[in-house]
């Protein structure tokens, strides 16, 4: 591979340090709560202790009388609603007349310090009138009144989706085996180490600056503009480096709006840092999803049709939920060939913290269900589950039944690597407990699963024809290069990716480059760090900007050296004649020549994803410029006396396309395995059953997440199969490698002790119960038995590409709106 400059790659593919590595290792990185401004006030937000209630009255008089209190806001100060999706503008910065979950914001105080703010907050008196609470998927579907919101698809159903690609009944009729399974995936949360924080400053020129630990400064900018009623040009949002995001800092948050308004009222900077308990209640994490999957297969495991139903517990607000709902049904088709596919999904509102996007957004739940379901099918057909998957992969450069365009597809190579690395063929057998791995005192098992993820969404969150990502480069006559981009570094290294790519193209050192990101005043819009879009989209925009700059320099240098333009190359901080490399100029001189010839050198680049072939209503979720692939084998040890599952090792292969920096890719893979391990073994957002819908354990001690003592050994393989849509062929890695881990562990548990735990997380209690059932001759399984009956709308029918479809829904059928 070359940098388009006729030279081998000097930066891309090399394990460089991150450009901000020194700052992070010396404690110099400024996170939002590290910002301390003169005269800054502290903000505390009073949150509802009622799960569902009308606000009858709020008395702030005692709080306001407390010395040191500067301002108090309530819902009447924020009449305009906002929300991340245009279809779910259902949040108020402070609740107006009703609270919908324990943790909903009711009033906000700005005071001289945090202690005074806290005391004042506790002096605010709120009178509530309780309403019936809705706390489960079943209740959300059954209880129409009271409605949590006055919009949606009826009662407390937020969204219903029903899509059918080809005739699944025809596919089931052709099958040798039709199997149905039901699964439940409990919700869990991001748990970033950094608690959310925001600082607002309203300057004497009446311009507002907000620093926030957000993954999406552009969307925060839009939300503030809408809610505060001041022009967007008067608001500057700066996303501080995020101390972990994982999707949890992707919504515009009430505390960001509140500190802005308080700064405007008081004329002083205002900061709000959430407590850990508040972070749990802010949530926006993994939706609890109940699933039913029915698949028809031939004897060799070839799928003839699949019908997937999902039921999402959305919590109290819309958040990204409509997209989440579609995502629970979108990516089933991009790993193994599914010629006919039907998806029905329903998201309900409940009186719990709102769910939203967490690493893998809406896809780890169905992926877990699908991969365990396929394991059961492989056993029924007596096929090796690795081989069955390997035999029926979606071909590269194809279009799926639901109109997702697949480019490069490295899943076969991924499976081969982990099968070989784990010694799968000698270790795996369908005898459960696995006789190949048993010793007298341990019950070991091995399991496999595969997955895929998007590299950015094909469509932006709000409809527009503009690029999803923009990069601006400024070159100065001293040879300095500044790259500016709206992307936000959440720890994944997106700032570094910009520097590596620009350095590669301009032949300079990445540490020569100044990177300015995530500042709505200074940087062109990038939509944000979500949907694994950043490397692909900002990378392509950076390539375009850098190539445009290189072109200007090339013209000026060629003229100066009197050599043809095509002879000029850039490397080692020089521009030179490839035929006589000693003839050339320094990079700084090249900039001087270009600036002398053309004037100030600044270039821009932008990226818009290719148009998707899907044109049906709902086709907006799922399309991506490229799909990454992952495969994992997990080896576990199950203690039959305690039910404790120990994951000893995970072999994982990830189809990265091309590593821009392999050591950063490794870090994302290992971190994804870690997070998948936490989800399958222990992490859960659990609420008390006494109808108060209070979180059982909103603390880091009791919300169990893996420590060094639980983390498994990881053997990683990176598969490089460059994708034509990726920058230098690169695809995503931040989210995809999480996906195969939960089902691989679940399948390994079955292999070890012969019980199916069809409910995530796989806790010792569930394993023990299933083992007891096994001993007693009952169904050796723990999991849901059925899914609720739902009055689904008539499915929107779409002919598949194989049937000659054009990507639109069939006109003969009434379209459900």
């Amino acid at each position: 591979m070359s940098n388009g400059n006729g030279k081998p790659l000097n930066v891309v593919g090399k394990p460089f340090r991150k450009v901000d590595a020194r700052a992070k290792c010396t404690g110099q990185t400024k996170f939002a709560d590290d910002i301390i401004l003169p005269r800054m006030l502290a903000c505390k937000i009073l949150r509802s202790h009622e799960p569902h209630a009308l606000i009858k009255s709020i008395d702030i008089s005692k709080a306001l009388a407390l010395p040191g209190v500067f301002a108090i806001l309530t819902g009447k100060d924020f009449p305009i609603p906002y929300g991340i999706l245009p279809v779910s503008q259902d949040e108020h910065a402070l609740c107006v007349d009703k609270v919908r979950f324990v943790g909903d914001p009711v009033a906000a105080v700005a005071a001289i310090d945090e202690d005074v703010a806290f005391d004042a907050m506790n002096l605010i008196e709120v009178e509530y009138e309780r309403l019936q609470t809705i706390t489960s998927i079943e209740e959300g579907l059954l209880v129409d009144e009271p409605r949590i919101h006055e919009y949606g698809d009826g009662g407390n159903v937020h969204k219903k989706v029903s899509l059918e690609f080809g005739d699944v009944e025809e596919g089931f009729a052709e099958a040798d085996l039709v199997r149905e399974d039901t699964f439940f995936y409990e919700g869990n949360t991001h748990l970033p180490l950094e608690q959310h924080a925001a600082v607002a400053h309203f300057d004497p020129d009446e311009k507002l600056t907000v620093w926030s630990s957000t993954q999406t400064p552009h969307y925060v900018h839009r939300a503030l503009t809408k809610v505060l009623g001041i022009p967007a040009s008067h608001i500057r949002v700066i996303a501080t480096p995020n101390g972990g995001g994982f999707g949890g800092k992707s919504d515009p948050f009430n505390h960001e709006v509140v500190v802005s308004k308080l700064a405007m009222i008081t004329g002083r900077p205002v900061k709000c840092t959430l407590t850990r308990e508040e972070v749990f209640y802010c949530h926006r994490g993994r939706h609890p999803v109940l699933m039913h999957v029915k698949t028809g297969v031939k004897k060799d495991g070839a799928i003839t049709a699949m019908h997937f139903k999902s039921f999402l517990d959305g919590g109290a607000y819309g958040s990204y939920g409509v997209a989440s709902t579609f995502y629970t049904g979108a990516l089933q088709t991009v790993t193994y060939d599914v010629p006919r596919y039907k998806f029905q999904g329903a998201r309900v509102f409940t009186n719990k913290p709102p769910c939203g996007p967490k690493r893998g957004h809406g896809t780890p739940q169905p992926r877990y269900g699908l991969e365990v379901h396929l394991d059961k099918i492989a056993e029924q057909l007596n096929l090796d589950p690795a081989e069955m998957r390997r035999q029926h992969l979606v071909p590269a450069n194809s279009v799926t039944a639901n109109y997702l365009r697949i480019g490069s597809m490295g899943l076969g190579a991924c499976i081969d690597k982990i099968v070989e690395g784990s010694d799968w063929k000698n270790k795996f057998s369908w005898s459960t407990p696995n006789s190949a791995l048993q010793t007298p005192d341990s019950r070991k098992g091995i399991g496999i699963a595969c997955s895929s993820y998007i590299c950015g969404a094909g469509l932006p969150i709000y409809w527009n024809n503009m690029p999803q990502s923009g990069v601006q480069l400024r070159l100065d006559r001293q040879g300095g290069v500044c790259v500016m981009c709206g992307s936000t570094d959440i720890g994944q290294g997106s700032d570094s990716i910009l520097a590596y790519i620009v350095a590669e193209i301009l032949g300079i050192d990445p540490f020569d480059i100044r990177v300015v990101t995530a500042d709505t005043d200074l940087t062109p819009v990038d939509l944000g760090s979500y949907s694994s879009r950043v490397t692909l989209m900002t990378g392509n925009a950076a390539i375009q900007a850098a190539e445009r700059a290189r072109e200007l320099l090339t013209i000026a240098v060629a003229e100066k050296l009197s050599v043809p333009i095509e002879n000029i190359s850039f490397a080692d901080r020089r521009a030179f004649d490839v035929e006589n490399p000693e003839i050339g100029v320094s990079f700084a001189e090249a900039v001087v020549l270009a600036e002398s010839k053309f004037g100030t050198i600044g270039t821009v680049g932008s990226y818009s994803p290719p148009r998707s072939p899907g044109k049906y209503k709902g086709a907006g979720v799922g399309p991506s410029p490229a799909y990454s692939y992952s495969a994992a084998v997990a080896e576990v040890d199950v203690d039959p006396l305690t039910g404790i599952v120990t994951v000893e090792r995970v072999w994982i292969a990830h189809d990265i396309g091309k590593s821009i920096n392999p050591v950063l890719v490794m870090g994302q893979v290992e971190g994804s395995v870690y997070m998948g391990l936490g989800e399958i073994l222990m992490e859960e957002m659990a609420y008390r059953a006494n109808r108060n819908a209070v979180h059982k354990f909103p603390s880091m001690l009791e919300y169990k997440s893996p420590t060094t003592m639980e983390m498994c050994d990881v053997k990683t393989y990176l598969i490089e199969d460059p994708d034509p849509n990726g920058p230098f062929g690169a695809k995503e890695v931040g989210q995809g490698p999480l996906l195969p881990v939960p089902p691989a562990v679940a399948n390994a548990v079955y292999n070890a002790v012969g019980v199916r735990i069809d409910e995530v997380p796989i806790t010792p209690e569930k394993v023990l119960k299933a083992l007891r059932d096994k001993e007693r001759g009952r169904d050796p399984r723990f999991g849901p038995d059925s899914v609720p009956n739902v009055d689904w709308p008539e499915p929107l029918r779409v002919l598949t590409p194989a049937e000659g479809g054009d990507g639109k829904e069939m006109p003969s059928v009434a379209v459900h709106s």
Binding site: K24, G27, I36, P67, D115, T708
Partner: protein, 176 residues
């Protein structure tokens, strides 16, 4: 009485090798004193309840959770924070290896890990992988899966023992 106007406490102690004096509201934790009264924001907080290890600093050479220690208790003691690790513009070997291996992803938990690891290496110059896991088990990291952190501690320990140690290729590029 309004807390913001409470009479301040005053302590003298050694901070990152230098004598320091600070006045602060007496109920403040060492974490708050460091961050708010001494503007050393390198020490981070994740829970302020002693659960996550993020606020780890060294007091008299021992790692402690600064969110659970009163500032008043630092009187006369020797405190080292992440700001005190590098000396004369040169990074501590742990900071170097954390940077080289991507052991600091978001970097928020890194100060705490660095100080816990420093304590370990000073006690046990050649720690086994199990010793490292044990020593760091009180620090949570959500980004790395801990693996790059173990590798960075092992590499730094080797360098501090004066042993040349090459990084295994698989740590940087994965397995062949």
């Amino acid at each position: 009485m309004q807390k913001g106007t409470q009479q301040k406490a005053h302590i003298s102690f050694t901070l990152n090798g230098e004598p320091a004096e600070v006045a602060f509201a007496p109920h403040k934790t060492l974490l708050e004193v460091l961050r708010e009264d001494l503007a050393l924001t390198g020490t981070k907080h994740g829970c302020e309840l002693g659960e996550c290890g993020t606020c780890t600093v060294l007091v008299d050479g021992k790692s402690i959770l600064s969110c659970l220690m009163l500032g008043l208790d630092a009187e006369g003691r020797e405190v080292i924070t992440v700001e005190g690790l590098a000396a004369n513009g040169k990074l501590h070997p742990l900071q170097d290896t954390f940077a080289d291996l991507g052991a600091a992803q978001c970097g928020y938990c890194s100060p705490g890990f660095l100080l816990a690891a420093k304590e370990l290496i000073e006690k046990s110059p050649k720690p086994s992988r199990d010793e490292i896991k044990e020593a760091l088990s009180g620090n949570l990291c959500r980004c790395t899966g801990y693996i790059k952190i173990y590798e960075a501690v092992e590499l730094a320990a080797a360098r501090m023992r004066g042993e040349p140690m090459e990084l295994p290729r698989e740590s940087l590029y994965g397995l062949e």
